[in-house]
Structure formats: structure tokens, C-alpha cells
């Protein structure tokens, strides 16, 4: 994992090289046979598509199978899913999954336009809608429909910032108080700056291997993918039967838990998609951790903190670690892995044995859920 932020001195390929080198060193030097790249914005913001071949070659993996996987903000999870299926098929023994975004080279209007391509171009983006607009519309409706207070989402932001204080990779390492949330400038009402995760350059990589390909000795306990699923719903928010119900999130969580033969009570931590705070509430509801309209309450009573019932955003989430776009899913899985390996230091969730990670693309149009398990 590279710290998320403004890497003025690093181009996309150098971010990728650093992340891949770190992941390979951490794996004990496994040699990947394939590279799966999760990325959305490079064609628009760096004029660069075809990242598979570029980055395989540049990072010292010349010749390996390589491609880019895109499903908006869910790209990272979907890329892990595809690597997982390739390994399960027996065609590969070792694969590397890289999430990378280089965002800070371009000005806000261009970044917003590039992000807006994840909405329905003909029926949303043409009306000036961006992902923040979608989130604001969902939050406004949520507050209205559930009679929730204006500051319902404050707890998500405060928890994320609290957890980021001790994460050296985080973009913001400062706790925030409720008054700061309440006085924060509006981005797109009712969204304020603390409801919105700050976009930053980022790169993170995971080495996945079949059990048979693992060396006999390794430095850290190996974490197992026990469940993996991807679901979709309508791209445009207005095309969903109930926009406040994230059906793709719900279906993919259910499928992943079924595959892992687990139920909600088994989940020790949940790295969810908090690019906007409203999605934390909706994701908790979609997975079944809270009833519709009650997700925000889990952020009021400590349930989502590191020692709570269902810890989320344990290293700060996209809100405070920083939002690396398509790389989000890889950061989530890397952070969940550190938790299950007992390497989370001050951010450690006590006795973490099973983790769920879930990333969303296009305000929930795509959702990818993974269940990770600590062996024994």
C-alpha cells in the first residue's frame, strides 16, 4: 500500500511499481503469472489505457498475462474476484492484483467529468450529475424518509478520522469533533465536506496464490478467501426500484456469506465503501447489520468502532485514509488482511478472525464482497 494523497513526484507507473514491489516482498518473493489491474481514471486523467501490458512490463513482470478491470469504484473487488476465479480454475498458481489511480495531475472540473462517466451518461451525467450529486440525492431522501436528524452521518466521519490517527498511510491523521462536522462547508446539500471522502493518488497490490503454491515457511499467517461475489443493479439511481436499498450490495454479501458458510454474527469486521458517509449507512443496512433506516444509529453508539460489535473503516476508510478510486477494494482487502494477520498495531480489532470487505461502484450499481478468514 502506498499512502493515499498527492504524489506530485510519482507517475502512475511509479506508484504501481512501488506497490507491487512491496506486495511481492511481503509475499516472500512469489512470482506472479498474471497481473489484474483495477483502474478507472487513467484513460481520462493520464491519457493512458492498456495498463495491463504497461505495468506488467514496467514492474518487472514482462510477459505475464495482464489486463485492466473496470467497474467504477468496485473495480478493486471485481479484479480480486477475477484473480480468485483464475486461481480456483487451476490455470494459475500465483496472481497479483493491483489497484491504482493517479488523480492529482488534473483540475477539479476534469476529475468531476471523469468521475461522472460512472453514472448514466445519457440520463444522469448530461444533466450535470456526478457521484457526489447521486450521494447527496440519496442522503436527502434517506433523512426525509426515515426522519433521521441532519447530523445522522456524523458518527461515520468521526469514527473514520479517529481510526486514521494511527494509520501511517492515511491522508488525514486527525480526529474530528462533532462541532467540526456540524459546521463543515456544504458540498452538495445535505452532504458536507466531512461526508465526502477526499480523492487522492493511490496504489496497493495483493499477491494471491493457491495453497499448493505457497512456500512452507512464511513470515505471516496466510489469509484465506472464503467467499467472493459480484452483483449489479441499475446504473442510474432513478432506475432502481428503491434507490435507498442497495440490492447489489445485499446480493453480493449474501452470496459471499453463503459461499463461506457463514452468517452475519461471524463477521468480526466490515471494510465497507464509505466514499460518501451515506453509503456506510446504506451498506450496513444492505448487508443486514441494521434494519432499513437504522444504519446510521450504529455510528452513534460505538458499534462500529474498533472494539464495537461490527468495526468498520478500521484504518480510516476512504473518508480518512483517502479515497483512491478504483484501488479502494485493494486497500480494503490489504487492511482486512493486516487485521487477520494481527499486524494492525494500534488499529487492531481484538480477536479478528473473519473479515468482510465490500466496495461499491457508481453509487452501488456494482458491488463486490469478499470474506477473508484467518486459518485455524
Amino acid at each position: 500500500m502506498m499512502p493515499v494523497g498527492e504524489h506530485w513526484d510519482l507517475s502512475l507507473r511509479h506508484l504501481a511499481l512501488d506497490a507491487i514491489s512491496a506486495a511481492r516482498a511481503d509475499s516472500g518473493g512469489l512470482r506472479p503469472q498474471a497481473l489484474y489491474v483495477a483502474n478507472v481514471l487513467a484513460p481520462a486523467l493520464s491519457g493512458q489505457s492498456h495498463l495491463g501490458a504497461l505495468l506488467a512490463d514496467f514492474t518487472g513482470l514482462r510477459g505475464v498475462e495482464a489486463s485492466t478491470i473496470e467497474a467504477s469504484g468496485a473495480s478493486g473487488g471485481v479484479a480480486v474476484r477475477q484473480a480468485y476465479l483464475a486461481l480456483t480454475s487451476g490455470a494459475l498458481d500465483v496472481a497479483i492484483v493491483l489497484g491504482v489511480e493517479k488523480i492529482t495531475d488534473k483540475a477539479s472540473g476534469q476529475v468531476q467529468a471523469a468521475l461522472a462517466t460512472s453514472t448514466d451518461s445519457e440520463y444522469e451525467a448530461v444533466h450535470g450529475v456526478t457521484p457526489s450529486t447521486q450521494a447527496a440525492l440519496l442522503m436527502q431522501r434517506y433523512l426525509y424518509e426515515h426522519g433521521a436528524p441532519k447530523d445522522s452521518m456524523a458518527g461515520f466521519s468521526m469514527t473514520a478520522h479517529q481510526n486514521a490517527v494511527t494509520n501511517p498511510n492515511a491522508m488525514f491523521r486527525k480526529a474530528i469533533r462533532h462541532e467540526q462536522y456540524a459546521r463543515a462547508p456544504i458540498i452538495s446539500e445535505p452532504l458536507n465536506t466531512f461526508d465526502v471522502a477526499p480523492l487522492g493518488d493511490g496504489a496497493a497490490a495483493l499477491v494471491l496464490a493457491r495453497a499448493a503454491a505457497l512456500p512452507n515457511r512464511h513470515d505471516y499467517p496466510q489469509v484465506v478467501i472464503a467467499g467472493s461475489a459480484v452483483s449489479t443493479s441499475a446504473l442510474a439511481v432513478h432506475d432502481r426500484p428503491n434507490p435507498l436499498h442497495l440490492t447489489a450490495a445485499s446480493q453480493s454479501a449474501e452470496a459471499a456469506m453463503l459461499q463461506a458458510s457463514l452468517s452475519l454474527e461471524d463477521i468480526g469486521l466490515f471494510e465497507l465503501h464509505d466514499s460518501f458517509s451515506i453509503f456506510a449507512a446504506l451498506s450496513l443496512e444492505a448487508a443486514g447489520f441494521a434494519a432499513p433506516g437504522h444504519g446510521w444509529k450504529l455510528a452513534q453508539n460505538g458499534d462500529i468502532s474498533l472494539a464495537g460489535k461490527i468495526p468498520i473503516s478500521t484504518f480510516g476508510g476512504s473518508k480518512a485514509r483517502g479515497d483512491p478510486g478504483a484501488a479502494t477494494g485493494i486497500y480494503q482487502l490489504a487492511e482486512a488482511t493486516l487485521q487477520l494477520q494481527g499486524r494492525a498495531n494500534e488499529n487492531q480489532v481484538p480477536n479478528a478472525a473473519i473479515a468482510m470487505t465490500q466496495c461499491l461502484g457508481g453509487s452501488g450499481a456494482t458491488a463486490s464482497t469478499h470474506i477473508l478468514r484467518r486459518p485455524n
Binding site: 467529468a113 456526478t130 450529486t133 436527502q140 439511481v237
Partner: protein, 139 residues
Amino acid sequence: MNRLASMETSQHWRLRQQRYALVGEVCPHCTTKIFPPRDICPDCGEDARDLYQFSGRGEVYSHTTVYQAPSGHSSNAPYPVAIVRLEEGPLVTAQLTDIGDQPVEIGTQVEMVTRKLGADGERGMLVYGYKFRPILAER
């Protein structure tokens, strides 16, 4: 219209009926009214290509204001955006316009009007289409 202009226009030309007249579809199997049109009924999964003219009236389902506009919309920012529940059933996303002194709220009655949506493409071609405005009580 020269060749270059016509190419960049064609993607908007294809949508002229929807954009200017809110023409959607009605499912011949289950009578669901469909907007935006999608040829396959979202309710019953059957073919649904019969055209249907929406009234253009509805109420605000949710709303916000965009301050951080994407390029192509920056000269218009800040601008209000809503999801509108059309009286025939479907939701649709659009900008609000002609807002008077009354604040827009969820439930505010609105009607469709045609306005400039923004600029598109390399040469900033102007795109027109539907927006919604509050229906004033005295009308």
C-alpha cells in the same frame, strides 16, 4: 449541417424524442410506464418498445445543489438537481429551473420544460433537453 457537426450531434439526435418531449415506453404485457426508455420492461422482463408520451408532471423525490461542477457544466454552477417521481410512476433525474421564492422540498409539484442542459464535446456544442420547474399554486 457539415459532416463534423453531424457526427458530434448524432448521439444527441438519437435522444431527441426523450430529451424534448419526454417520450418513453409502455409495456404491452404489464402496462408499466417506462422512462427512460429501455426496450425491455424492468418489471416483467418482456419486450417493451411501444412509445408512450409522459405528461411531464410529477413531484420532487429528492433534490440537491451542485457546486463542484464537471467541465461542460461549470459556467452553469451552482445548479439544482432533483430526482422527480413522474405522475405515471417512473423516477427521472433532471435539473430544476425557474425556482421562485418558495424553497424546493421533497413533495414539491413540478412540470417539465425544455432548457439548455450544458456543453458537450470538443467544440462545446450546446445540448438542450428537459428540466423541471415548480408548479405555482396560482396557476
